[in-house]
């Protein structure tokens, strides 16, 4: 039972990390109608920035802060140089163009930082474990990720629901043309939203870097999961992305932990441990397929994207 609780925490942590990626993706998708495969590259760049700046400054929090600003700026630059030209084009053009960006960023990282990947060293106070329940130790850092991501989620909710810029974002997500016609500076809004999305992805990347190290191509597999999440949640809906992310994280982690043991009842141990992870990876896609068959526009479609 305690083990199950621990696995749920692991799943929650992974799910919240997914949410940070998915939030930016769903905003860009919902407002600019842009399929951005290169979102995963921004996640990777965030991880490398985080590792580099924490090493350079010698301070964990300071390095992270600089890295966040750096990914924000990088995101805005990418928007101005490349993405802006893709708005209004076919989704396929987006796929092809941003696919090209992925190749570019991967090679760029290899050129600058080398192929080996980079460690992000945690300060001592994060690199320990903490007793969350009597007899249950849990990684302090994973707990910190949960807290930070929940904070970001709450912040996003407040910004989108309570501020003027949030109103514009919501308006953009439900009716792009109309928002433009009202004389809002759409260009600036787009650059801003894209930059924030990039910073969120970068934050996810740099938090993950301390667990997994920064790696070339680290964004690609998680990107697909993030896409699945925003589709399940409904494009443009932050609330949908949040719920779907947590779902996906829990299913993935708990499934990975539980399914092999269940399968061992019917299969040989080695066959079970082969099929187990495969089945649990499959579950989330199964979930998406079922959701789409029943609700062809996701669970919480933004009003304009039905």
């Amino acid at each position: 039972m305690l083990l199950f609780l621990e696995q749920c925490l692991n799943g929650l942590q992974f799910g919240l990390l997914l949410f940070l990626l998915a939030a930016g993706l769903t905003l860009v998708f919902g407002i600019m109608d842009l399929v951005n495969l290169a979102h995963g590259s921004l996640y990777m760049m965030g991880a490398y920035f985080g590792a580099t700046f924490t090493a350079l400054t010698g301070s964990y929090l300071g390095g992270i802060a600089i890295a966040l600003v750096a990914t924000l700026l990088l995101g805005m630059a990418v928007e101005v140089i490349a993405m802006r030209r893709l708005y209004g084009r076919d989704h396929l053009d987006h796929v092809l163009g941003t696919f090209g960006l992925i190749l570019f960023f991967n090679e760029l990282v290899r050129l600058i930082w080398g192929p080996a990947g980079m460690n992000l060293t945690l300060p001592g106070w994060l690199n320990t474990s903490i007793e969350i329940l009597p007899g249950v130790n849990y990684s302090m850092y994973r707990l910190a990720i949960i807290v930070v991501a929940l904070g970001v989620a709450l912040g996003l909710y407040l910004v989108v629901m309570r501020t003027r810029i949030g109103m514009l974002i919501r308006a953009g997500a439900s009716n792009r043309e109309m928002t433009g016609a009202l004389g809002i500076n759409i260009k600036l809004l787009y650059t801003f939203v894209f930059g924030v999305g990039a910073a969120l992805a970068g934050l996810a990347g740099m938090m993950q870097a301390a667990i997994l190290t920064a790696q070339i191509g680290m964004g690609e597999n998680i990107l697909i999961l993030a896409f699945v999440v925003i589709i399940i949640g409904g494009i443009g809906s932050i609330r949908g992305a949040f719920i779907a992310s947590i779902f996906a994280g829990l299913i993935d982690t708990v499934g990975r932990a539980v399914i092999p043991d269940v399968l061992k009842l019917v299969l040989s141990p080695s066959a079970a441990s082969t099929a187990g992870p495969a089945l649990s990876s499959m579950l989330i896609y199964l979930l998406m397929a079922i959701v789409l068959v029943v609700r062809p526009a996701g669970l919480f479609p933004a009003p304009g994207n039905r």
């Binding site: 396929l92 092809l96 190749l103 082969t274």
Partner: protein, 332 residues
């Protein structure tokens, strides 16, 4: 304007493909044959994707799944001791068709980006099924010890023969697609792409038409999968990885959607770039970097990436569209 640049390029390409084995024998290097065999097989897959994506407007982000299904049918049968191509190939087609029918029936309920993602979801599920087949090598894949046997009829292990078999399959595929697209059925499919509601209003059961089209494309791609497994003597889940589906889309868009020869041109261009770019860079740029110990040719994708972006931005309609525009400008 009978012989414009566009048809000339297509004709030259076909002619070159026909002559590859002769050239390979002439220079005594079979590797080029191997590269071209791969090109031809992937061109079949790309052409089948173009049928649904280009003409039908159904962007499938999971088309590589059929490559895997066709390949696994061949691989698993060979592993279990059934080598006859008369059993392997038809079964590969039937199984692909059945999968396409199920996937298509469910996926076609959605539209646009949701369709892209649901096809991806199904492909990922099939990918993970491949990963969990521990009897057949799981992640590591399965080496195929003997290629499909066709009695004394055709020897698949002979490189040039196998190449011509693949090429024949490609030509048949092109012919089938051409006939389909120019039939009443094809017109209905293309009509549904631009305005589904109107097509339904004038009495076409578009769902059924699209589903049929989807199944045909899946079946053809399954054939490509069976060929690919025979070509590499190896099958693994990696064939179905989502990046492969992405590669196929890139090939079609690069060559030119909704044109007969576009996917073929795109496949050849994409794979040739993969082979040629590092080679050209190693001959031209690398020598300047010798003192620094860096080999720029190992970073060839840093060129390929932006190149793809440029194609999207400035050469709409892909290479074929580009050629068509030049042809139109050319005084004749």
């Amino acid at each position: 304007m009978a012989l414009n640049l566009r048809t000339l390029v297509a004709a030259l390409l076909v002619l070159a493909l026909l002559l590859v084995p002769v050239y390979a024998a002439f220079i005594g290097n079979n590797f080029i044959l191997s590269v071209c065999t791969r090109m031809v097989i992937l061109a079949i897959a790309a052409t089948s994707l173009n049928l649904i994506m280009g003409y039908g407007g159904m962007v499938s982000f999971g088309h590589a799944a059929y490559l895997g299904i066709g390949g696994y049918v061949v691989g698993i049968l060979a592993f279990e001791g059934i080598y006859s191509g008369f059993i392997q190939w038809p079964l590969a087609l039937v199984v692909s068709a059945v999968f396409a029918l199920v996937i298509g029936a469910l996926s076609l309920r959605t539209k646009g980006v949701y369709f892209i993602m649901i096809t991806l979801a199904f492909a990922q599920m099939i990918y993970y099924v491949g990963v969990s087949l521990s009897r057949y090598g799981a992640d590591d894949g399965l080496t195929i010890q003997r290629r499909s046997q066709f009695g004394d009829l055709i020897n698949m292990s002979h490189k040039a023969t196998f190449y011509y078999v693949c090429l024949a399959c490609l030509f048949i595929t092109l012919f089938v697609v051409w006939r389909l697209v120019n039939s009443r059925f094809g017109m209905a499919i293309q009509g549904a792409r631009s305005n589904d509601t109107r097509m339904r209003a004038i009495g076409f059961p578009t769902y059924r038409y699209k589903l049929t089209c989807f199944v045909i494309a899946g079946t053809i791609c399954g054939l490509a999968g069976a060929l690919l497994a025979n070509h590499t003597d190896f099958i693994s889940p990696a064939v179905m990885h989502w990046t492969r589906s992405g590669d196929l889309i890139v090939m079609v868009v690069l060559g030119g959607m909704a044109t007969l020869f576009g996917p073929l041109i795109g496949t050849v261009a994409f794979l040739a770039l993969e082979e040629a770019l590092p080679f050209v860079m190693s001959k031209t740029i690398d020598p300047y970097f010798i003192p620094s110990g860096i080999r720029p040719s190992e970073y060839w994708q840093i060129i390929l990436g932006p190149l793809l972006l440029l194609v999207v931005l400035f050469a709409r309609g892909g290479i074929d569209g580009f050629l068509a525009r030049i042809s139109d400008k050319e005084p004749s």
